[in-house]
């Protein structure tokens, strides 16, 4: 039977991908789980021993962990609010028939393609430097004293940089969703005399609600793992003011060589991400049926 052949071939052809992804994710994850139950320092690997949940209890009761967890949540929530609200406004604006629409769209999407290390360093120096940065010049011209961004408001500074990176993403996705809005529906609302606000609330918002959900979920997954921006600007400081979970795990593993504790942190990060992932998968899965 030809179909039997095709089915067999299908299994064989999909196998390499499955094996590779399995080896890439499940095996290391199992190792992380295993390491997280060990007392295991790279400085003294011979003395490693099974210690059960001690890494978790010490990680979870470490004040740095609580700070890092809060920082992670603050970072994710702030960037989400800024990029989604800003993204809706930008998308509404770009959806208007204005002169040079295509050029505008290219300008708006551009920051998304800038590598994180570049965005972070350009913002930190060229824009936010308190002596010669552009923001300092604007503040002085308006008669204010310049803000010492990364020293006095480290978290806010990181949030601004990351928001700039993700605003274009939200704008692009929401614009795509807006453009599929029915022209007739727009006109009908117009004829019924809907004002701009009720038009937005009753027609536009319900139409792009799903896209907003998708943006929120995808951004959350990426924002939970923000690393490079912190690595090149604040190194998690001052103190632990901008240390998020990924940075804390990195610090434990590669700077303090504490494999056991870092692994426990990694497991916690996975659990956090999975809570979000479940919702995203449900939406994508529903789409797959249709």
């Amino acid at each position: 039977m030809a179909t039997q052949q095709v089915t067999t071939a299908g299994r064989i052809l999909v196998a390499p991908s499955v094996i590779l992804l399995f080896a890439w994710m499940i095996v290391p994850l199992a190792m992380t789980l295993y390491f997280s139950t060990l007392r295991y320092s790279l400085l003294d690997p011979d003395s490693s021993a099974f210690i059960g949940f001690q890494n978790y209890t010490s990680f979870l009761t470490d004040p740095d962990f609580i700070t890092a967890l809060l920082n992670t949540l603050i970072l994710v929530a702030s960037v989400l609010v800024i990029s989604v609200c800003g993204g809706i406004l930008v998308a509404l604006l770009m959806d208007q028939p204005v002169f040079g629409q295509n050029v505008l769209r290219l300008m708006v999407i551009a920051p998304f393609f800038v590598m994180p290390t570049v965005s972070a360093l350009v913002w930190k120096n060229l824009l936010m430097n308190p002596d010669s940065g552009l923001f300092a010049w604007i503040a002085r011209s308006l008669g204010f004293s310049p803000v010492v961004w990364f020293t006095n408001y480290p978290m806010l500074s990181v949030i601004l940089v990351v928001s700039w990176e993700w605003l274009p993403f939200a704008s692009l996705i929401l614009l795509t969703a807006l453009q599929s809005l029915d022209e007739e529906q727009k006109e009908a609302a117009q004829l019924d005399g809907a004002g701009p606000l009720s038009y937005f609330g009753y027609i536009v918002l319900p139409h792009i609600a799903r896209a907003i959900t998708v943006v929120i979920l995808i951004e959350t997954i990426f924002l939970l793992s923000v690393f490079a921006e912190i690595y090149v600007t604040t190194s998690g400081g001052p103190g632990v003011a901008t240390t998020n979970i990924p940075f804390l795990v990195y610090k434990q593993a590669l700077l303090n060589f504490d494999v056991g504790s870092a692994s426990a942190g990694g497991v916690i990060a996975v659990v956090l991400a999975n809570i979000v992932a479940v919702f995203l998968m449900r939406i994508v899965g529903r789409n797959l049926e249709g």
Binding site: V114, L126, A253, I283
Partner: protein
């Protein structure tokens, strides 16, 4: 059009739109302009916007001082190499899921997607230790392998959505004519889906080019791509803004151009088809 906007209102919206777009784009433009300044002009107060001595010397110096080309070479090799290999693995898999689906195909797709949701820190420790023991730290092979695996689910997903749009009859016709499976994929499916494959590649290359967790953690010098090269400017000596800007411009220009071409596919690829 039923809506008749007054010219004034339309002009207002246009101006507003241009201001917003300009502000969003400004940091990139500012970096570009600064890259042509002397170091003194770069930190001048008040800032010099257009009237200064434009110079190319930063570009020369970036190459001379830190061997920019080697990092660029690594970035190119990694982002293209990893995804070409990825494509060779992903095309057969996507074919199989689009045209020979089994009962478990949907679960399999969802599982592949779920691997993308796993935060990198969850597997940083074992991968780092494994690489250390295998001597793969700071090697193009090791990092390329990781970048390939990072993109594999996205490659398969995007290709799957493109393949789904190809009528299955055409492939069956080729099969009736006695084409082997290999020929069917190579000579019938692939040419028909060139646009889909091209845009998939484009998105994958952009993602690899900008990947900055694994490249920062696994590469130190020999295999370091541009992400790590730029990161070395975080602990600079002396005046460096103009050089940072020149290096940044070089690092983002190629991908910015590729990115502009792939906007539409970006939406599809990054939302896994949930927004079209």
């Amino acid at each position: 059009m039923a809506m008749k906007q007054s010219i004034q209102k339309r002009a207002g919206v246009t101006i507003l739109a241009w201001i917003v777009a300009f502000l969003i784009f400004f940091p990139i433009l500012w970096t570009f302009i600064t890259s042509f300044k002397s170091e003194l002009d770069a930190i001048a107060m008040p800032p010099k916007f257009l009237f200064f001595n434009w110079t190319l010397e930063n570009y020369a110096e970036v190459q001379e001082r830190s061997n920019y080309l080697r990092y660029a070479f690594n970035s190119i090799v990694l982002s293209i190499g990893a995804n070409v290999v990825g494509l060779l693995i992903a095309v057969p898999a996507a074919w199989s899921m689009a045209f020979a689906p089994g009962k478990r195909t949907k679960d399999l797709l969802m599982w592949m997607l779920s691997t993308k949701m796993m935060p990198a820190v969850g597997v940083l420790v074992p991968i780092y230790l494994l690489f250390k023991n295998l001597g793969l730290l700071d090697s193009l092979w090791g990092i390329g392998f990781v970048l390939m695996l990072l993109n594999l689910p996205i490659l398969i997903w995007m290709l799957y959505t493109y393949f789904k749009e190809i009528p299955v009859d055409i492939l069956e016709a080729a099969r009736m004519d006695g084409a082997s499976l290999f020929n069917e994929i190579l000579y019938v499916l692939t040419p028909m889906s060139v646009p889909g494959i091209a845009s998939t590649m484009l998105l994958a290359i952009i993602l690899s080019w900008n990947e900055a967790f694994w490249t920062l953690n696994l590469a130190t010098s020999n295999a370091a791509p541009l992400t790590a090269f730029i990161a070395s400017y975080s602990a600079p000596e002396g005046f460096f803004w103009a050089k940072l800007s020149a290096a940044s411009t070089l690092a983002i220009a190629p991908i910015l151009i590729l990115g502009w071409f792939s906007q539409k596919q970006l939406v599809r690829g990054l939302t896994f088809g949930a927004v079209k």
